[in-house]
Symmetry: C2
Subunit: 359 residues, 2 copies
């Protein structure tokens, strides 16, 4: 049994009673923290930072030193898996991630193979083990991966896109090819997340950043089905503990019932949905994570406290809520404001839990 | 009484019986048409094209010459109103629209004034009159404007944005200032749309391209409330005919009930929502417009026909459906494929209407 001393996050994800609503922030180890920028500079490049288990561990722990957070999340890039498949990930200054060898022809697609996470992705698995040692049983460590559809967007477009023209053309014109890419990627992600769990990740999140760009039917066929396949293949109990799985589809608010039926324990919400309405729809089946608009952190501490309270009140009393932003924290967030957020949630959420709670 | 000879669109928007499902395409006069590119080249610049009533009329009619469409939509830019407010619209090559003088300080905001559409926006109103003459009673002409929140995004950010940092900071930190911008803009849009109606627009659409980037609460307060104010101020009957109003909020599928209660006649849907589910939620109150994923037009004619049929079947029998894309047509669309789409919808939709229809 390896529950961390603070297991509030794990309990909330499994809808077990908690004393307060746990909180972590997507991209909590990131550019808004000067200490992160300092480490990244020392690493030489973003990829060098990702590929060094020691430095990845260092930046993973930085937000926990500053804020009273209820979880650490592995610092890594979403595109490590396609990089390990040989696509050649690189970062062009100010342009976001790119691939040197995007998937463009059928031959390349038919030759795609799932990498061995203990070989080509060893640096990530080593980082997980190193972070677990460094956390020393304090808070849980969340592992993660991009969803197959989200990874395929980058693999086929070759980088970020605003219209997803190449992948959508393939989706409608050659669905067989896209299914092949997604099938291989789903196998790769399953093995990758299982390796993270084996090395010590105590919960995992699948980031489906681009599933929300699909029609409802295409979402189910090309994104959700593969996340479901991954979830079915994950090690759900490790060291005697249940490993909760969180699915976060940005823009997926319309499809909550489908996502909640995927086998996951928790659904991540972006900020466009009222979390109380989401709870009414699926809160009996899954925990919910979210969902403050990250832009609220550009406002003053009073506004942040008011808006954070609104999210807590909207969810209401009882377990099953993990407080988070509705998207990754912006690099332009003033670090001090995060303190106001964390304190508000910690203090104000107690009245929704415990013996005095109406739930 | 000035109903056009083909008034199928107007009847569908008002949920009156029709013989087939009418179709038009957002951005139907645009860069995917070689004849549009030729006229734009002749105009010298995009703004010169917008500002010439003759050339705007010419490009408005181009898609009607090629395809059997059920409506014309005024060719103009979404940002004419803030340009007329003195912000200085320009187009940097490959960068989209920009303002020379974005709203940055309180003094500028407090001095913002609604332009007289018959003066600073005369070129648009003249284009409407010219297009009506040229259409000669064939199909209806749709007028349009951006929503106040969408216009304010550009006015405050100074151009396109991927995080809306400036406007969201204002929204949360200085809501009074943003409400002032939106109030003045709503007045301006009301006068602008009424001038279009006075000059001959037979239906109007409000494009709320960025409302979907807000939380549910912020959407209601900062986007929907102002569209509601505009709708309440519109000339709803002109020349003895009802002028239907369409509201299109991209990413607004979660909030359909609120949008349907805004006073509009029809709700535009993006492609992420199943139109049958949307109809079940609000189809008794409003017509629905949409919602094929525009990316489907990158596929072959068989796929386009199958996917268009799925939209028709999902909506089902009975009036109240205007076929459209879920977003503007892409500049990369092959013009021939649009013929396949138009023919499929025209032919296949007949079985959902008329005496043999089960509705």
């Amino acid at each position: 049994m390896t529950r961390p001393r603070n297991d509030t996050l794990l309990r909330a994800l499994l809808r077990e009673p908690v004393e307060y609503t746990p909180l972590w922030l997507m991209r909590q180890a990131g550019r808004y923290l000067p200490e992160y920028c300092e480490t990244r500079k020392r690493a030489g490049s973003f990829m060098a930072l990702c590929k060094s288990p020691q430095l990845a561990c260092e930046v993973t722990l930085q937000p926990l030193a500053r804020y009273d957070l209820d979880a650490a999340i592995l610092f890594s890039d979403i595109l490590t898996v396609p990089d390990a498949m040989g696509l050649g990930l690189y970062f062009a200054e100010g342009e976001g991630p790119k691939f040197e060898r995007p998937l463009r022809d059928e031959w390349e697609i038919r030759n795609l193979a799932a990498p061995d996470p203990h070989d080509e992705l060893r640096y990530v698995i080593d980082a997980v083990a190193e972070i677990r040692r460094a956390l020393d049983g304090s808070v849980p460590l969340i592992g993660f991966s991009g969803s197959p559809y989200t990874l395929a967007c980058y693999m086929i477009e070759g980088g970020a896109s605003d219209d997803f023209r190449r992948i959508k053309t393939m989706l409608y014109d050659r669905p067989d090819l896209l299914h092949h890419v997604l099938g291989v990627t789903a196998q790769a992600v399953t093995a990758y997340l299982n390796a993270q769990i084996g090395a010590g990740a105590q919960a995992v999140q699948i980031f489906d950043t681009w599933g929300g760009s699909l029609s409802h039917a295409a979402y189910r066929e090309f994104s959700l089905a593969y996340m479901q396949e991954i979830i079915a293949g994950l090690t759900r109990t490790h060291d005697g503990e249940r490993i909760p799985v969180i699915v976060f589809t940005k823009g997926g608010g319309l499809w909550l019932e489908d996502i909640a039926a995927s086998g996951c324990d928790a659904v991540g919400l972006d900020w466009t949905i009222d979390i109380g309405q989401a709870r009414a729809r699926v809160g009996k089946r899954v925990a919910l994570q979210g969902n403050l608009d990250p832009s609220i952190l550009f406002a003053g501490p009073d506004v942040v406290a008011i808006e954070a309270r609104k999210v807590l009140h909207s969810f209401g009393p009882g377990s099953g809520h993990v407080f988070n932003l509705g998207h990754g924290i912006s690099q332009f967030t003033p670090p001090e404001i995060v303190t106001a957020l964390v304190e508000t949630v910690r203090v104000e959420s107690r009245s929704f839990h415990g013996p005095q709670s109406p739930a």
